[in-house]
Amino acid sequence: MTDFSKARNAGKLKEIQEKSAEQANGLVAINIPLDQIDENPDNANIFNMEGIDILAEGIKEDGFNGAISVFKKPDGRYEISSGHRRYRAMLLNGEDTIPCIVSPYPEDETERGLKLVSSNIRNRNMLPMDWARVINYYMEIMKKKGEYEGRLRDRAAEYFQMAQTNIHRYTSLLKLIPELQELANDPEYAFSAFTSAATLSEVEQKELYNRIIRENNMLDNKNGNAKVLSRARIEQLINDLKHKDDVFLGQQNKADGNYNVASLSSGSESSVANTVNHMEQIEEGSSGSEKVSGVVDFDGSMNTPVDTSDDTIDESEYEPSDEEYGETESGAVEHEVKEPVKASSSPSPSSSTSGAPILDNRLTKFANDIESLSRSDFEVADSAQVKILLERITAAVKNIELSI
């Protein structure tokens, strides 16, 4: 049999084949005037368009490489499918044209939407809220299209190559109030901590936001390196709002803004009493053994058995936020009361594991804190209770020092 591949013209055949493979359906980039190009209207709602000035400067320095991809619309204009940021940057630079790869206009709207999603999720730096919006957008498109098998969330998980639970986490972010969404977008917070807050009402979410901010400020005061709340703490706050604060919020709604001073004062008293109890037990624990974490709470509203060391914090969470109560006297008292409680709670879990020296360090620290507070910042009306508390704490600290 003749070996055809050795024939003189076989090379020609090969050339043709190579050319075909490279060029037959190769993409062709054309320079298109910027004023003939439209953006996809959905793009700005889904993706963030920040940092375009930086991109524009980069393009100015290095020149524009590659091409954006556009559809040719039936009316002769073009619509961007991928490259909105580069397009904006070129506009900013005052260029006339931009290299584009033109593809045919998808016949129906859902396909255009899907194209927008698929071309953008791969090459962008996506923040959690971007993911949330794009997943939601995709699911809306698929719902409209109606051609999918099984659950929509499974389809989305397959499409975005994520776990189903992640899909749920992202989409539930959309039910949050804007303030919480901002927090979720902050890379320092774990966004997934906020997902369970989606079932809370708007009022509750505002309350949650206030609490997180308040606790954050305190963390900043206490030790410089820990800046934000941990995921566990946020989840706990949400959990508290879900399970225990129903009563409180209900009362507040009934009171219609004129909150019941008596119930409030009694509440603060009980919390003070609790803290005193707590301190006593710390004393006992420090002298004897390390069972500080086994603090018992006496508040009747606590039905769910949660980790008891945390419950003391929950106590403080029953107090209303700053916004709602303003700078009233009782509010000031609560501030003072709350701080020691919070501080006392934080050493308790660690003490159970790492022992006395750390505990007493922390105790001295917060005793100092309280002293400084009582001296300067607030005018305390009902300071008797605080004084008692202070005395007990200092006594406890001395005890500890002596024992060491």
Partner: protein, 304 residues
């Protein structure tokens, strides 16, 4: 190398499967899909462009239940004379002498230039679902013409309910060819066992690129199919296999085997699937058309 008998038995088995498609094709007709436009074009002559157009049209109509329009852009008018054999001789047939030239020049609607194709099948002359726009002898170089004229033709064909428009192009770049390439979505290239049919394809790639830069960004090479080859012959086998492996998936797996009955069918003026429905070559055509339809679907899906 497969022995000769497999050529006889295997396609017959496949033919049975294809005949089932008839029903699904008819069902599909009700919810009509979007019109597909295909130009069958190679800048080398004698590779079977016209024969392929006629037989593809017949396959699409007979086996897949589609309504097909054939536009003859070749000034030799072979496709139109093939398809209008009975239309021109039969009394009472719907026909017109106007053709592509008149359509390119003036503002006449598509319905004025349509000829309904009559086909002799089982000794009866029946009306088919194929329509043809005649080619005319003086249409190759028209001075002023609108490059978008065939785009108008395509949209008119869509309104008239056609599923496919097949353009039979001549072997060079003439006025109707340019108009065709700026209007169609796909180009289908017949090649044969000789290397010159592939150099025609080489030239075509450049032209397709140029068209895509200027008038028609949607233009795409759908694929290459082999016409008139048999793979138990060494040269044919070499060309078929080397192209199948090296053309980046553009070559169709199905090829059309040579047969004397194909030119005989042209002599009788009957498209091959009607002339010899049980012949293996007819099955080749059906098989190839099936592959083309699948690839069109795939390409469209990929574009989304």
């Amino acid at each position: 190398m497969c022995p000769r008998w497999t050529h006889l038995t295997f396609p017959i088995f496949k033919f049975k499967i294809c005949s089932k498609l008839d029903i699904t094709g008819l069902l599909a007709e009700r919810r009509r899909s979007v019109l597909d436009t295909i130009a069958i074009f190679n800048q080398k002559g004698g590779v079977g462009k016209t024969t392929s157009v006629v037989n593809f049209a017949a396959c699409l109509e007979k086996e897949f239940g589609k309504k097909v329009l054939v536009v003859d852009c070749d000034s030799q008018c072979n496709a139109s004379s093939y398809l209008t054999t009975f239309t021109d001789t039969e009394e009472g047939a719907v026909r017109t002498d106007l053709g592509v030239e008149e359509y390119l020049k003036g503002n006449i609607p598509l319905s004025d230039v349509l000829n309904r194709v009559l086909i002799q099948f089982r000794r009866k002359i029946v009306e088919s679902n194929i329509y043809v726009v005649r080619g005319t002898k003086k249409m190759d170089f028209i001075d002023d013409f609108d490059t978008d004229i065939f785009k108008r033709l395509v949209s008119e064909a869509e309104e008239l309910g056609f599923d496919y428009v097949l353009f039979d192009c001549p072997a060079n770049l003439t006025t109707p060819t340019l108009a065709t390439l700026s209007a169609v979505r796909f180009v289908l290239i017949p090649v044969s066992y000789d290397i010159y049919s592939l150099s025609g394809y080489d030239m075509l790639i450049d032209n397709v690129q140029a068209i895509r830069r200027t008038t028609n960004i949607n233009l795409q090479v759908l694929g290459i199919f082999f016409n008139n080859i048999r793979t138990d012959w060494n040269l044919d086998k070499y060309m078929y296999e080397s192209n199948r492996d090296n053309l980046n998936g553009l070559a169709f797996k199905t090829y059309i085997r040579p047969s004397r009955t194909v030119p005989t069918a042209a002599l009788f003026g009957i498209p091959y699937p009607y002339y010899r429905p049980r012949n293996p070559v007819a099955n080749d055509y059906i098989e190839l058309v099936n592959e083309i339809i699948k690839r069109i679907k795939k390409v469209k899906k990929g574009a989304k």
